[in-house]
């Protein structure tokens, strides 16, 4: 923990009767791209504002680079923030906006202009230094906000939903740019987002929050492939859930009874839940295979179920098929449109087989 640049220890914040942040603790190592992910109202922005010093926690401590931030106002913290509205000063030019943070702290004029040029270079706005914010596009305004924060050379850069106001195409481009920028400047980034794609594609580690608490902190792949709870599984990506009952634990596997599928064995590393406990099994839609003929066993333990296509959504690169088994269970299957006629080969009402490896099933105890 001592090596962490940011350490949040038991932080709580209450607004009236609402507990916005509930006893949250985590550490962020140097140069990490860390994401706070959660649905709106989960307390992630409040937590970010507590780190920035814009809100005071009711309880707990925020330690930045070994220094307790209690009582230190936002203007004297070694962090800078990119606001959701960008908060670019409308009456100042791009260069004046970027220079602002240096001017108010009395940086010598020559150094200000050198560092402003440098920062504008990094965010590729060098040619627009004399423009006013109203002459800029949303993406450019965001770059101004980024440059304005980076020019201060903070130890930690905080980003509050930085991409939510951009259109889809630009958002994807900025995701890459932000990730590259973080590598380039070597500053710890903490990003707040409700967009799972954003968090998964950019962050080194993600803390998933819900109702003021952190549900799970892990790398993107662990979060997606081994979610710790039903909430995390359902919030990140799509999932097919099976309510089931534990029959017994057997070393590294768990025998379970699923109403729609019968008894089966799934891998489970951790000390298993007790016999008879109600748990959920989950499997991601892209782990499912759809075929018109019954699948033949390929050596791995595979589960197969007969179903009928009831609906499908075409996304170009993928299609999301919705099928219903004979017992009424609805499943969501994602198929890659690997050939130009993949999408044409299936129609609503077709009888199909859906199969997947038992190893791809996730055990959710909560």
């Amino acid at each position: 923990m001592s090596n962490d640049i940011v350490s949040v220890q038991g932080v709580s914040k209450r607004f009236g009767s609402v507990l916005a942040v509930d006893d949250v603790s985590f550490g962020i190592p140097r140069n990490e791209f860390f994401a706070l992910l959660g649905p709106s109202g989960c307390g992630k922005t409040t937590l970010l504002r507590i780190i920035a010093g814009l809100e005071h926690p009711d309880d707990g401590a925020v330690i930045i680079d070994g220094e307790d931030m209690a009582g230190i106002p936002p203007n004297r913290r070694p962090v800078n923030m990119v606001f959701q509205s960008y908060a670019v000063f409308p009456h100042m030019t791009v260069a004046q906006n970027v220079a602002y943070g240096l001017r108010v702290t009395g940086t010598p004029r020559a150094e200000v202009s050198r560092r402003v040029d440098e920062a504008l270079e990094i965010v590729q706005l060098a040619g627009l230094a004399g423009r006013k914010p109203h002459q800029l596009s949303g993406g450019q305004r965001q770059r101004v906000a980024l440059a304005r924060a980076l020019v201060k050379r903070p130890k930690v850069l905080l980003l509050d939903e930085p991409l939510s106001a951009l259109d889809a195409k630009l958002r994807e481009q900025m995701r890459l740019e932000l990730a590259n920028l973080q590598q380039q400047v070597g500053i710890t980034f903490i990003i707040v987002t409700h967009d799972q794609d954003e968090a998964l594609s950019m962050a080194d580690r993600i803390a998933v929050m819900n109702e003021g608490r952190v549900c799970q902190t892990a790398t993107p792949d662990v979060l997606y492939e081994s979610p710790a709870s039903r909430f995390v599984a359902e919030f990140i990506g799509k999932v097919n859930l099976f309510e089931s009952r534990v029959l017994g634990a057997n070393g590294r596997t768990l025998a379970v009874e699923v109403g729609e599928l019968g008894a089966l064995e799934v891998p489970h590393e951790k000390a298993g839940p007790r016999e008879g406990a109600a748990i959920a099994l989950a499997v991601r839609p892209e782990k499912l295979t759809i075929s018109t003929a019954p699948p033949d066993g390929d050596g791995r333990a595979r589960l197969a179920v007969a179903a009928r296509v009831i609906n499908w959504a075409y996304y170009g690169d993928t299609s999301h098929m919705y099928v219903r088994t004979e017992k009424g269970l609805e499943l969501n299957v994602n198929i890659q449109n690997t050939t130009r006629d993949t999408a044409e080969s299936l129609n609503v009402g077709d009888a199909v087989w859906v199969s997947w490896a038992a190893a791809d099933m996730i055990v959710l105890e909560e």
Binding site: L54, V79, N80, M81, F83, A87
Partner: protein, 298 residues
Amino acid sequence: MTRKGAQVHAMARSFAGLARWRPGRSRRAPLGPLDYGRRLWLRIVVALTFILIYMPIVTLMVFSFNDSRRNIVWRGFTTKYYVKAWHNDGLFEAFTNSLTIAVVSTIVSTIIGAMVALLLWRFRFPGKAAYEGFMALPIVIPDICLGVAMLVFFARIGWPAHMPWPLNLSAITIAHIAFSFPFVSIVVRARLAGFNRELEEASRDLGASEWQTFRHVILPYMKPGLIAGALLAFTLSLDDFVVTFFTSGPNTVTFPVKVYSMVRFSVTPEVNAASTVLILITVLTTILAVRFQNPARN
């Protein structure tokens, strides 16, 4: 591809033409739901409001050039009443008094009004709602009551009446400040209501102290509101009659009060001339203020 594109465009154009074409009807397109400019009743309303507001003012200006003492019928063009008004010492003094009072009361009421607006916008304190109500009260209190109250108040505390110029205008100026700063505070507060609090937070986050944030971020944002509020205070002070009438002494006559006393004898073009000058001054001030507000547009 380009040829195909051109064809599509040509087709689209002819379809659009077809859609507009109505056989056997007037060639004018039908009225759209927002085409108010083409509705007769709307034009009449616009014309009427214009006439109601500006006809009397235009008449006043035109008759300032009337070569007639009685100023009832037009008897020819002259500028002699402007010269006469300029040489009318009483009128000139009243004019200077009015401008002096207006300038001082505008500056002071803009500062107080802005401070009240900031206080109400920025802070929460016990009795805030009551304070807010009391700040708006001078707007609804009838001028006549305010005038009498001021008269009684200044008499009661024994405010010195005979002081050298411009101190002799202090009572009127204080009265003017009292009734104009609530207007300034309302205008400034309306402006502040649209302020993005993240701007303030961004400034703090970037290392600015509270004072620097106010000076470099909040104040520039307030500027249009301050200018609008100041203009309002200026005109309120310049044309106030009722409150001034009760607070002015024999040596402190303002322009509206002077005009009133002149009109009691007869309406000469002199009054028109002086009024025209006053209108020009206020219009020019407004234009300047608006220009100052949006330098980028020019």
